[in-house]
């Protein structure tokens, strides 16, 4: 073993399948045995650039159902790629078991090694470990489900026509962001459990029976009683619009319901990815950096290899200032990598400031701390918990307040002693789903009356809905089949405006 350590695995930029396997073994050895990463088995697929474009278009899944919006996406990417406006991602990785990672044919050997470390051990272990992925995705079944979805959809097209299927899909896609569960629905009771409850209730009533109650005069049925019996439906507001439509839309055919379900499942599958962008990329970037450096330290790769890896790594984690050319928001790779590395630094080499801010982890075992963070946080809480003052200084983060009533924008806080907590809290809020997706919930389904559906949009800090909402409402009413109403209410519950699409 030791003898081989002094010898680089290979030299030169050309890759072969044998070399990929050798690098994978070497990286896997470090990742699993040294750093204790827990991964799904890997399936590494080498593809050509056109196939990468295809994979882009199908939102990263190896199989997707046909829809024009994917065509649009494909055309857009292809165009940009042809013009050289953008390169292709070096890899795509799919949250499945086995974890499928695509490597591009055009990559050089160091890039392939980087991608293997990034995707096959970084993302892979994140998919397996993070609580959101565990809770909301089923890595074993997703590929099979997509195969089913595709076949089912194509059968529907044959049977009911492209147009009919496309209509439903368009409408569902419009509501996709409101088609996810953020909290687990209680499991429905099985028939046995239902019967058992019924029996218990009867038994209780029987035990409580007392003839004297019969002598009490019954209260005349007032408004309250009637309201209770007829009931407002749903009893609690529902935020998963697609789920509500799938279960309750009065006019949908069974196959249409199934399509709604397919879109909803897809949305749910992608939900954790949206919630952990910074963490996921940060984690994967941190690990490709750490693993490949370890490889270098062991003498398994040479200087040229490392230089290429580092130059590409540097490009990935570049964060431009807000006023620089090419600024495109906060780069999740940069922020994630910086935070993950920073946690390691806090553990290994804490400053007095770190000890004050992070007494729990300063000087701890970085591997354990990182593992815990990866498993139990999402972007919002991760930033809220682990963004250190030092990093705020390094990135020169500052917050701007944009308030409707002020004529000017106000610099709220900057990277100074008074501002750290505020900046951290605000940045964390930026990753809060409530800030990105308007709060729209089903409050009433008039199932005994005109079957209209009423939704409430609770305004978040006075922010209105965009103009597109009218269009979305039309889509909603197409699925619902009857009148759909959208009330915008403020924080106090006062109705501010009402839109209605008559079905």
């Amino acid at each position: 073993m030791n003898a081989s350590h002094a010898q680089p695995l290979s030299s030169g930029a050309e890759w072969t399948f044998e070399l990929i396997e050798r690098y994978d073994r070497a990286i896997g050895d470090i990742a699993v045995n040294e750093f204790k990463l827990d991964c799904y088995p890997n399936q590494i697929e080498v593809i050509a650039s056109e196939q990468m474009l295809d994979a882009y278009a199908s939102v990263g899944l190896p199989i997707g159902y046909p829809h024009w919006s994917y065509g649009k996406e494909f055309i857009r990417n292809e165009q940009m790629y042809r013009k050289g406006q953008r390169g292709l991602a070096y890899e795509i990785v799919i949250n499945s078991n086995p974890c499928i990672a695509y490597l591009m044919e055009e990559n050089s050997l160091p890039m392939q090694a980087l991608v293997i470390a990034h995707a096959c051990y970084g993302h892979n272990s994140f998919f397996k470990g993070n609580y959101l992925f565990q809770q909301w995705t089923n890595a074993d079944a997703i590929i099979d489900y997509m195969v089913f979805a595709r076949n089912y959809l194509m059968k529907c097209e044959d049977r009911y026509g492209h147009a009919a299927v496309e209509e439903i899909l368009d409408s569902c896609h419009a509501l996709q962001s409101h088609g996810v569960d953020r909290y687990r629905q209680p499991m429905p009771l099985s028939a046995d459990e239902e019967r058992e409850r019924q029996r218990e209730r009867e038994e209780y009533a029987w035990k409580q029976y007392d003839d004297i109650w019969r002598t009490l005069p019954t209260r005349s049925a007032g408004d309250d009683a009637r309201n209770d019996s007829v009931g407002q439906y749903p009893p609690e507001p529902q935020e998963n619009l697609l789920y509500f439509i799938e279960k309750h839309a009065p006019k949908l055919e069974p196959w249409q319901r199934e399509l709604v379900r397919i879109v909803r499942k897809m949305a749910q599958y992608f939900y954790p990815q949206g919630m952990t962008k910074v963490m996921n990329e940060g984690w994967a970037t941190f690990w490709h950096y750490t693993l490949l450096n370890r490889l270098y330290d062991k003498g398994l790769v040479d200087d040229g290899f490392m230089l290429e890896v580092l130059s590409s790594h540097t490009n990935v984690v570049a964060q431009r200032g807000f006023d620089q050319r090419g600024y495109g928001g906060i780069n999740p790779y940069a922020l994630g990598f910086a935070m993950t590395s920073d946690i390691r630094r806090i553990c290994e080499d804490p400053t007095p400031e770190d000890r004050e801010w992070f007494p729990d982890i300063a000087g701890g075992d970085w591997l354990k701390v990182l593992d815990f963070a990866m498993r139990n946080y999402k972007d919002e809480s991760f930033v809220g918990q682990f963004l250190s003052p030092r990093l705020i200084r390094d990135l020169h983060l500052f917050a701007i307040a944009d308030h409707a009533k002020d004529e000017h924008l106000l610099v709220d806080s900057i990277h100074n002693e008074q501002g750290y907590r505020r900046v951290r809290q605000l940045l964390s809020q930026q990753y809060n789903r409530d800030g990105m997706v308007p709060d729209i919930q089903v409050v009433r389904y008039d199932h005994r009356g005109d079957r209209s559906l009423t939704l409430n949009h609770r305004r978040h800090r006075g922010r209105p809905l965009s103009d597109e909402s009218g269009e979305v409402l039309k889509h909603l009413s197409r699925l619902w089949g009857f009148t759909v109403r959208l009330n915008t209410i403020d924080a106090q519950g006062k109705t501010l405006e009402q839109r209605e699409v008559r079905g």
Binding site: P41, D170, G435, P464, L465
Partner: protein, 408 residues
């Protein structure tokens, strides 16, 4: 633990179906783009793909999201000069400025219009749709080029189906003769001796027997080569009235008509020359750009154009070595004796040497018979076609006879 799979050989066109759906859904917009392209392009240049623009809002996928307004805070990187409490002007033009909004804002700008390329086939198909071409004709002129398989002798390699038995056997025979002749000569010589050495002769005969009847290198296969079918050349005269009454719309219609004829000819003939003759009260030969875009004022004398065509024909395109096609577009206005003279010029001088002459009229009022069409109507020749056209779909029928005849 890891499996490495080579997927490069898999199908590379998984998104083709999605692309096709996209095109179908936005056919109207794309068709409009194609139509714009047609008017911008040169006739000879029509035959390729192109970029299509669709306004981004037409293809947006709406979702519920926040509009601008309300209160929010944005965290940005790269502070250099700001201190808490600084007031900044709101950036112009919505978005609320910076942050996530800024990021989105930028990409929205970039997506103001959605541009993508159509392949040559897609472009041509939309162009033909526009002209309502029947499919048979599309195939005829839409195909890249027709080839003919032609015999080109014999080759020593090929597929068994092309094996030429006669040739192979002839080759074998020649080889056998060539290989055995010296031996036979030797035998003959030996037999001439007083005591023929039987041993030696038998040995020679065995050598002769060892020469195979048919060897691999005897095999000959029929060789075929692809030759492009069109081998002759043609000239197409485009005649157009450019007096003030010809509006841009009418010219656009004319352009489609010329293009269609050109496409047809360029499939059929290897070399197609274009001659553009415009006329008001006198005719000029011009280039394509001037032909379609320059405005002229003046009266209308159709005869001048026909005369010029005749002159050019005699000077540069003798009818015995060129296939001559004529295409005339006019709004039909002609005065005095001009229509009659034009008719007789056409019938007597031009039609005899033309393969085909098509006239389309783009009238202001489709109901009225113009003086020129009144005159032309009396031309009785199967080389002549005319029609009044007000919409693109009516262009093709003018040429229908031509296509039908040539396709047969």
């Amino acid at each position: 633990m890891s499996i490495v799979i080579d997927r490069r050989l898999n199908d590379r066109n998984k998104s083709a179906v999605n692309r096709e759906r996209f095109l179908r859904r936005y056919k109207e917009q794309i068709r409009k783009s194609v139509s714009d392209m047609v008017s911008r392009r040169s006739i000879t240049d029509m035959d390729r793909g192109g970029n299509v623009n669709i306004p981004a809002r037409d293809i947006s996928e709406p979702t519920f999201n926040h509009g601008s307004g309300g209160d929010r805070e944005i965290v940005l990187p790269g502070n250099k000069q700001f201190s808490p409490g600084d007031k900044l002007k709101r950036p112009e033009g919505g978005g609320g400025g910076g942050g996530n909004g800024g990021g989105d804002g930028q990409s929205e700008d970039a997506e103001d219009s959605f541009t993508f390329s159509l392949s040559r086939e897609e472009f041509m198909s939309l162009f033909f749709d526009d002209l309502e071409l029947p499919h048979l004709v599309r195939n005829m002129i839409g195909d890249v080029r027709e080839y003919k398989m032609q015999r080109a002798g014999f080759t020593p390699s090929g597929v068994p189906a092309n094996l030429s038995v006669t040739r192979s056997l002839r080759q074998a025979l020649a080889r056998r003769i060539a290989l055995t002749a010296p031996l036979k000569q030797q035998i003959k010589d030996l037999e001439q001796r007083e005591v023929p050495p039987d041993e030696e002769i038998a040995e020679l005969r065995r050598r002769i027997d060892r020469v195979p009847f048919l060897d691999d290198l005897d095999l000959r296969y029929r060789h075929r080569v692809k030759v492009p079918l069109p081998i002759s050349r043609a000239v197409m005269f485009c005649l157009m009235d450019v007096s003030a009454s010809m509006t841009e719309d009418k010219k656009d219609l004319a352009k489609r008509f010329y293009t269609l004829l050109y496409l047809f000819l360029s499939r059929k003939y290897e070399k197609v020359d274009l001659v553009f003759i415009r006329h008001t009260d006198n005719a000029q030969e011009v280039d394509e750009n001037a032909f379609f875009h320059d405005r002229q004022s003046g009266g209308t004398v159709v005869l001048s154009a026909l005369k010029l065509m005749q002159e050019i024909m005699t000077a540069r395109y003798p009818a015995d070595s060129w296939n001559i096609y004529g295409a005339q577009v006019s709004d039909g206005d002609a005065f005095g004796a001009d229509p009659e003279k034009s008719r007789s010029c056409l019938v007597e001088h031009l039609l005899p040497s033309c393969r085909y002459f098509a006239y389309i009229e783009v009238p202001d009022d489709p109901m009225r018979t113009s003086p020129l069409s009144y005159a032309y109507q009396r031309i009785d020749s199967e080389k002549f076609a005319m029609s009044s056209v007000t919409q693109r779909g009516e262009v093709y029928p003018v040429l229908r006879e031509l296509f039908k005849r040539e396709a047969a």
